[in-house]
């Protein structure tokens, strides 16, 4: 009898353990298992909308969408897999090893259609569609993908598309981004990705253990992304890009009153198609290219300002009343500052501020700079928009650097010498600016004293953005200062000996300033920044050629651009 009791106790304990086990499975881990259970039987077949288009100010498409065809296939059907691969590879003229590998990778997912080949041409899609008779479980799915009707035009403004990276994902997860999402990198595509991106729609349905549809649970139509209109004018952009050609550099053409950018070119360029097509060879070449074609030099390129910076010194001197229109200083070809001889590129003799700007006389500005003082130059440089971001609406803008005695002390613990002031006066030394900052400074002289915030986005989904924009800011320069400097800028082009005299034949009255920024041991950077027409400026232009030689070279490009704009009646 004792043995029976022991056995009964044992069995009772077993029953109790079973209840404990049930409790553990259903209550403690229940939520977890419920999730897995739902995942088991609920499938989502996503349907993509099209990404918002990017159009120019006249409504011409810069980045649109085209239909791409994907070959999808339901991997649970294995019967004639090898034949399928053989047929597909014959039609596409590709090696069948790639397909087998792609197929193997997707095997355990089962039941969901997987893509065998992407981005097919219409012709290939039709040919593959014929296979449906033999292989009923394949489908040709059409997907909208990015298309660039103008090829690589304005590529730096657009940016490119790619699969989201880990860094962006952690940042954007809360906004509904998921792994494998296609997002913009650089340019408008990145900046306004949230508006451009389509809202994924799809069908959710219940499937049985073999992935066969049991019933549809819900349908959400995809929502297309919002179109973005830029202030860019494709025609001017084309002119600017072709004028720049293959030379490294940047061109910016901007409205001086509002700051709206009508053309912004950077070279070398890249073709954003390469990222859509997943052309890996091409993409890795772009990333490895020492000329860094992916960098937008107009906003992310930092260069010494060179003589263009003399306008800052002139403004500081005139505003501080160190000189007036008639003050003249002597240029003998060089100037001893401390123990160092600072050279001019010519011997200009006696000249006033106007002719010194026109001739870009170094000695005049060494003397002027020493007169004004380094701190004042630094302060006015900041006032004219250097050394901080312009607030332009494309990502990865650089802010540049303007040295000052204080900053030198802080950064290097070294004393500021007069030689540093002399260097600063002609925009050399540690001065670093972006072409956009130079264009923005030039706009101040074109529009009569307003610091504008450059922008390139006109409207999103038809909604004008001007309400949200920063108004041009009056920076309280005396009218005389501006008119004297404008005279100088006009002289650059108009005077016989002006550094930009070549532009006098451009067909409109141009005013501007050249710059030849030394960057030993390589060739100097060539700057030209100006505005036209002189009386009522419509456009500010800034041309930079990276290691492009003397400023004259940039003048030639500016001339070409202005002539062609004139020829097309755009001015």
């Amino acid at each position: 009898m004792i043995r029976i009791k022991i056995l009964i106790c044992f069995l009772t304990a077993m029953f109790f353990l079973l209840i404990v086990g049930l409790f553990n499975l259903e209550i403690i881990h229940g939520r977890n298992f419920k999730g897995i259970g739902d995942k088991n039987c609920i499938r989502l077949l996503s349907q993509r909308g099209s990404r918002g288009r990017i159009i120019d100010r006249n409504g011409l498409v810069i980045a649109g969408n085209k239909i791409s065809y994907d070959l999808m296939f339901v991997p649970q059907e294995y019967a004639s897999q090898d034949e399928l691969i053989f047929s597909v590879s014959r039609i596409l003229g590709k090696d069948d090893k790639g397909f087998s590998a792609a197929l193997k990778k997707t095997y355990p997912v089962s039941s969901m259609p997987v893509s065998l080949a992407r981005n097919l041409k219409l012709k290939e899609a039709i040919a593959l569609g014929q296979l449906k008779a033999d292989f009923p479980y394949i489908t040709i799915q059409d997907n909208p993908v990015r298309a660039y009707p103008n090829s690589n035009l304005a590529c730096h403004i657009l940016g490119y598309l790619g699969e989201i990276d880990r860094w962006r994902l952690t940042k954007l997860e809360d906004y509904g981004y998921k792994t494998k999402d296609i997002v913009g990198f650089g340019g408008v595509e990145e900046k306004y990705d949230y508006y451009l991106r389509d809202e994924e729609g799809g069908i959710s349905f219940q499937v049985d253990h073999r992935g066969r549809l049991v019933r549809t649970l819900g349908f959400k139509p995809p929502v297309d992304g919002k179109d973005i209109q830029l202030t860019l004018d494709i025609r001017i952009q084309k002119i600017a890009e072709s004028a720049l050609g293959e030379r490294k550099g940047a061109v910016i053409i901007m409205n001086p009153y509002t700051g709206e950018v009508v053309a912004l070119a950077s070279s070398p360029r890249f073709n954003p198609e390469a990222f859509v097509d997943k052309d890996n060879v091409m993409v890795s070449r772009l990333f490895k290219d020492p000329a860094s074609p992916l960098v937008n030099r107009a906003i992310s390129g930092l260069y010494p300002a060179g003589s263009v910076f003399k306008l800052v010194v002139a403004t500081a001197a005139l505003e501080n009343k160190k000189i007036n229109q008639h003050t003249s200083l002597l240029c003998q070809g060089s100037l001893m500052v401390g123990r160092q001889d600072f050279k001019c590129w010519d011997t200009h003799g006696q000249q006033n501020i106007i002719s010194a700007i026109a001739h870009s006389c170094n000695v005049f500005f060494y003397r002027l700079g020493l007169l004004v003082g380094a701190q004042a130059i630094h302060d006015y440089a900041l006032k004219l928009g250097f050394s901080h971001l312009t607030g332009f609406d494309l990502p990865y803008e650089k802010q540049g650097f303007i040295p000052s005695p204080l900053l030198k002390k802080i950064n290097t613990l070294k004393k500021w010498f007069d030689g540093d002031t002399a260097n600063l006066s002609i925009g050399q030394g540690e001065v670093l600016v972006t072409p956009l900052q130079v264009a923005r400074m030039m706009a101040i002289f074109a529009n009569g004293g307003y610091l504008v915030t450059p922008y390139i986005t006109k409207s999103i989904a038809g909604k004008d953005l001007s309400r949200y924009r920063k108004k041009p800011e009056k920076i309280n320069l005396r009218p005389e200062t501006i008119s004297i400097i404008r005279e100088g800028l006009r002289g650059t082009v108009n005077n016989q000996g002006g550094t930009g005299h070549v532009l006098s034949a451009a067909g409109v009255t141009v005013a501007g300033k050249t710059g030849t920024a030394q960057s030993p041991p390589r060739q100097s950077h060539a700057w030209f920044s100006g505005f036209f027409p002189f009386k009522e400026p419509k456009f500010v232009i800034c041309v930079l050629l990276e290691h492009g030689g003397p400023g004259y070279n940039s003048c030639l490009i500016a001339k070409k651009i202005i002539e062609e704009m004139l020829a097309e009646g755009l001015i």
Binding site: R3, M14, E26, I27, D208, H209
Partner: protein, 367 residues
């Protein structure tokens, strides 16, 4: 009708009711009519089973004493017949087609073994006319009965039906323990089994090895041998406290769970009725088995007592092993959940066993 007969019958019918609604739920989404009507067949089995129950509860169980060797031979005959004519289903040759009924002889053999063991250990010493197992030597206490049991067990394992074979082996151990043979014989036998186990590994079929491996870690082969355990655990786990409700279990109805109406019916039931339903079902089984043990304790007749104990043990082992394997606590072996799983043989044998149990309690007072 006696009190215990009524109790046993009521509990059994309650469990059968749960069985029918679970089978209905697990198959009503199937495509074919034949599948959808499977619950009707189960109803028929239950009806016939209930008839067998009443029939057997009125047959004096002592007659089984006389029929023991006949039954033993019959069951051996059927097991051998399976090898010759058996229908192969699910990779095993366990069924005999008799008309439209698929008969599973191993279920029948299981019950016969219980009767055989009960008789063997209740035989009286011819000299002293007293119960003798305590005094039996190792040959008569262990080796001889083991020989008789090993023949059908070997045949059953060879089908292969490892689950039923193991149940009979466990029954043997439990019965020799309960028959009061010397403890050192029981222990030495258990030790021997444990020592043989590593060698037995080599005699297992590949799928049985796989099942044992996935029992240790279901994730080594999630789409193969581990699939069933994982799906079964998901089904039970996703039930929660109240369950998903009748006809709303996705795991079983959408056929993620294989064998949802037979071996894994507990998972189907738990998914839809949750912890609450699971506890109710376990309680019903516990009460049923408790009845068996109470009857055994009330019975003075040694054969009757051992028979009642054997039947209760057989039921409890099946319940415990089946539910444990549903929850992933035991390796997957083809053991049905008595009265719940779909299948005529299982229902019949269970009802017959319960009928014998009822009769033991009824006849007890006659002595």
């Amino acid at each position: 009708m006696r009190n215990s007969t009524l109790i046993i019958f009521l509990i059994a019918i309650l469990i059968c009711a749960l069985s029918v609604i679970s089978i209905f739920s697990s198959t009503y989404q199937r495509e074919s009519e034949a599948w959808q009507n499977i619950y009707q067949r189960q109803l028929l089995w239950i009806f016939l089973g209930a008839a067998l129950f009443f029939f057997l509860s009125n047959i004096n169980y002592r007659r089984f004493w006389d029929w023991t060797y006949f039954l033993y031979i019959i069951s051996l005959f059927f097991l051998l017949l399976v090898f010759l004519l058996g229908a192969v289903r699910l990779g095993a040759q366990r069924w005999l087609r008799i008309g439209w009924f698929n008969f599973q002889p191993s279920e029948f053999a299981k019950l016969c073994m219980v009767i055989f063991l009960a008789r063997y250990f209740s035989s009286k010493d011819t000299v002293s006319v007293s119960l003798s197992p305590e005094k039996l030597g190792i040959f008569r206490a262990l080796i001889l009965p083991l020989f008789f049991v090993a023949i059908p067990v070997g045949l059953i394992i060879e089908q292969p039906d490892l689950g039923t074979g193991l149940i009979i082996l466990f029954l043997f151990i439990s019965v020799i323990y309960l028959a009061n043979i010397k403890l050192r014989h029981v222990l030495s036998f258990v030790t021997l089994i444990l020592l043989i186990m590593p060698f037995a590994w080599h005699f297992l079929r590949d799928y049985q090895k796989d099942r044992l491996m996935v029992f240790l870690n279901p994730n080594i082969d999630p789409l193969g041998a581990g699939y069933t355990v994982i799906q079964s655990k998901i089904a039970i786990g996703s039930g929660g406290f109240f369950g998903k409700g009748w006809l709303s279990g996705t795991q079983s109805q959408l056929r993620f769970l294989p064998e949802a109406h037979t071996d894994f019916i507990f998972a189907t039931f738990s998914e839809e009725w949750g912890l609450l339903g699971g506890i109710v079902l376990l309680l019903l089984y516990y009460l049923l088995i408790r009845q068996g043990f109470l009857i055994a304790q009330r019975t003075r007749d040694h054969f009757g007592r051992l028979l009642a104990l054997g039947i209760s043990l057989m039921l409890s082992m099946q319940v415990i092993i089946n539910i444990a394997m549903n929850m992933g606590f035991a390796p997957i072996v083809g053991i049905t959940l008595p009265l719940m799983s779909y299948g005529g043989s299982s229902v019949f044998v269970t009802f017959i066993a319960l009928g014998i149990l009822a009769n033991i309690d009824k006849t007890r007072s006659v002595f």
